[in-house]
Amino acid sequence: MTVATPPQGTGPLGRREARLAWSLLAPTIAAVSLVVLLPLLAVFWISVKPVELGDLRAPEPIVREDLRGKPEVGGDEATLRYRLRNSSQDGVIRDVVLTDSWPAGLQPVELDPRCSLEGSAFTCRFGDWPGGYRETLNIPVIVSQEFLDAGTEVDDTPASLTGKTTSVLTSGEFTFANFVKVFDGGEFWSVLGVTLFYTVFGTIGALVMGLFAAMLLNHSFRGQGVLRGLYLFPYVAPVIAVAFAWILLFDPFSGSANRLLIQMGVTDTAINFFGQRPLALFSVTAFEIWRYFPLSFLFILARMQSIDHDMYEAADMDGASPFQQFWYLSLPMLLGILSVLFLLRFIWTFNKFDDIFLLTGGNAGTRTLTVNVYEQAFAVSNIGAGAAVAVVIFLCLILFSIFFFKYISREEGL
């Protein structure tokens, strides 16, 4: 008698399914690794490189050729001129070689020792060019009638230059100067402090406001749909549009908000909301709350509407007051979504760049880590230092994510 055993391992059907799955996922994996993983690795690489913005353009040898002295009949003498230079001021180009094809009918009187002419092929070997190198190469030539009749120009066949360059990006040169610069002085800690303030208060504020707004709309009444649409506006509008609207509204000289406050007697002089410490930090945090409360409100509302109403009736029967119902029934039911939202928003606010960049440009004590990346890389033109800040951000992020996934596994998704 044979004993029936369950099949072991994956069968052919299972293998086929897995193969299909991977082939369906392949384009996504390829695209994402090309644009996310590769750049991430690149950031790590660049962060230990002494790269400046100017180094991105590799030094290039450049040549212009022309024929000087107007030859009119065959046998006249003219000068074939090559103007040569190194495009970079400090990058060395090694083994520069010029190749050109001369039109028929040009006879050199005398050749530069570095050059040779075989048939129509003209070659010069210049060796190494230091940064900022320039030279004009003049070659006296006898022009034949044949050349003049043909009417060709010398640069009809453009000269080409080749040379070896080393880019800092690919060289074996490494440095920790970028990280030293990032962590140097008190600046890093103040930037980190600003980031944490912005993140923590922006997140909590958006959650509380979202909770409040969700409670307002958790009744059915006429116009509820309109209000719900309206309250989502800040989130849907382009950030650049609303950021400029805020700047205009709170402008110290001609902003409506300041005029209103003065008129109401709240303040005597105009307040520079986005230009003075520490007010600017509060203002950008307020903007963050204003812009992202709709997102929390949407999720909280969705969760609220799925809460069973019988529970509240039972609580009513037992004599629980409205505040008690909120505190002992609604809040515990919402705790799951609130904590997930908190973690997600925390990470995203931490990553936020556009808002502060547009509102203050990172001035007046509002420079967060992400703005610092831009500041270092483009304003100070030190790409390496920018990448070093990016690495720091990424490490913080990994820390958050570990925490997030440990926690969210209990919460079972969103």
Binding site: L248, Y374, F394
Partner: protein, 404 residues
């Protein structure tokens, strides 16, 4: 707390606070509409509000209290003490409108708030009911104001000119006699600043982004949601992880790579990069939806001899049209609003997207109403699209979690 729970304490308190809220709201609104000086008077509004609150204990019909409150408000305002103080040159019409809004806006809601409240001792239910009603009323006003004011300022600024704005930044009244001249900034933007082109560029970049995103995300989401393979769990986790990577961290190497390959400053480069930023979000939203579809229908299809790909095309996709719509809408919104990459990668004014175009208007030489007109041009299409398809949007956003 205990001493507050008497009708004759609670009612005046709520009345006073509410009148102050309403007086502030009406002052701000009237200032914004007429440009004249209105301001709430703290003592006047608190005092009169307390009286109205007390009256509300005995007058339980909202219209009756509204009538009484309007009369009282007009009388007190005429005496110059009123809840709203006005500067000189306010027309009688504005005066009576203010009195009406403040009076009725206080009387009617206060009567509603105090519906279950009696003059004597209150139980927790009555007290907290009134407080919650008050807080909700405040909430509606507060949220509506903070959402509307920036957009109102944006639209109205775009219709005015620089000198008018500097003269009185509060005066948003519109001179209708200018007719089409009101829209001068818009005409100039389209004519001199190529905003028509930018809008078209933004539009087709967004549409292409939606198409590419769906092309990549639909098969991927299906595989993650339905097919069994090793690493499925890890994979669905790492999707979430990827959309936690900040864009600015990626923007730096992308900038370098694009500079070196010549893709910077080209629409091709933008169209290559946008979909990749949205694929993870789309994939996450779609796989959540696919999981919710009944697997039995697909299995029936398989039994009837369809291949997997045919099942996706003929069964899954038609069933998930609502999800596809909301994902498309969301991706379109992201691409349309995208600022950072466009700002870093595009320098050539002939290739700008709308957001990049607006950024280029931010200079001291260009008047501010142009900046605001540009903002309106960028905001209106996305809002219209969104309001028209709001149902899809709210559903889609909550179906999977979403990046902000």
């Amino acid at each position: 707390m205990k001493y507050l729970r008497f009708g004759f304490v609670t009612a005046p308190l709520i009345g006073a606070l509410w009148m102050f809220v309403i007086a502030t709201t009406v002052s701000v609104a009237m200032s914004f509409v007429t440009g004249a000086a209105f301001r709430p008077g703290a003592l006047g509004s608190l005092g009169l509000g307390a009286v109205i609150g007390l009256a509300g204990l005995y007058l339980s019909r909202p219209w009756a209290l509204a009538l009484v409150a309007t009369g009282l408000t007009a009388a007190v305002m005429a005496a110059g003490l009123g809840p709203v103080l006005m500067g000189e040159g306010v027309s009688p019409i504005a005066f009576s409108l203010t009195a009406l809004f403040v009076g009725a806006g206080t009387g009617w809601p206060v009567a509603v708030f105090l519906k279950g409240v009696e003059p004597g001792a209150l139980n927790r239910h009555q007290f907290e009911g009134a407080v919650i009603q008050f807080l909700m009323g405040f909430g509606y006003i507060f949220f509506t104001a903070i959402v509307l004011i920036p957009f109102y300022v944006m639209v109205m600024t775009s219709l005015k000119n620089q000198s008018e704005l500097i003269l009185n930044p509060l005066d948003f009244s519109i001179d209708l006699s200018k007719g089409w001249g009101l829209f001068r900034s818009y005409v100039e933007l389209v004519r001199d600043f190529r905003f028509g082109e930018y809008m078209w560029t933004s539009f087709y970049i967004s549409v292409l982004t939606v198409l590419f995103t769906l092309l990549f995300a639909v098969p991927g989401a299906y595989a993650v949601a339905r097919l069994r393979f090793k690493g499925q769990a890890v994979f669905s986790r790492s999707i979430l992880l990827i959309y936690m990577v900040p864009m600015i961290v990626l923007a730096l190497p992308i900038y370098i790579a694009f500079s070196m390959t010549g893709l910077r400053n080209s629409i091709t480069g933008i169209v290559m990069i946008y979909p990749v930023t949205t694929i993870p979000v789309a994939l996450y939203m779609l796989q959540g939806y696919f999981r919710g579809l009944p697997a039995e229908i697909e299995e029936a299809g398989l039994m009837d001899g369809l291949s997997r790909l045919q099942v996706i095309w003929k069964i899954t996709l038609p069933l998930s049209l609502p999800a596809l719509a909301s994902v498309s809408l969301y991706v379109f919104m992201i691409a349309w609003n995208e600022f950072l990459l466009a700002f870093m990668l595009l320098d050539d004014p002939s290739k700008f997207t709308l957001t990049r175009g607006i950024a280029s208007l931010n200079s001291s030489e260009i008047p501010r109403q142009h900046l605001m007109a540009g903002s309106v041009i960028a905001t209106v299409p996305i809002m219209a699209l969104f309001l028209g398809l709001e149902r899809f949007m709210t559903k889609g956003l909550t179906a999977g979690s979403v990046k902000g």
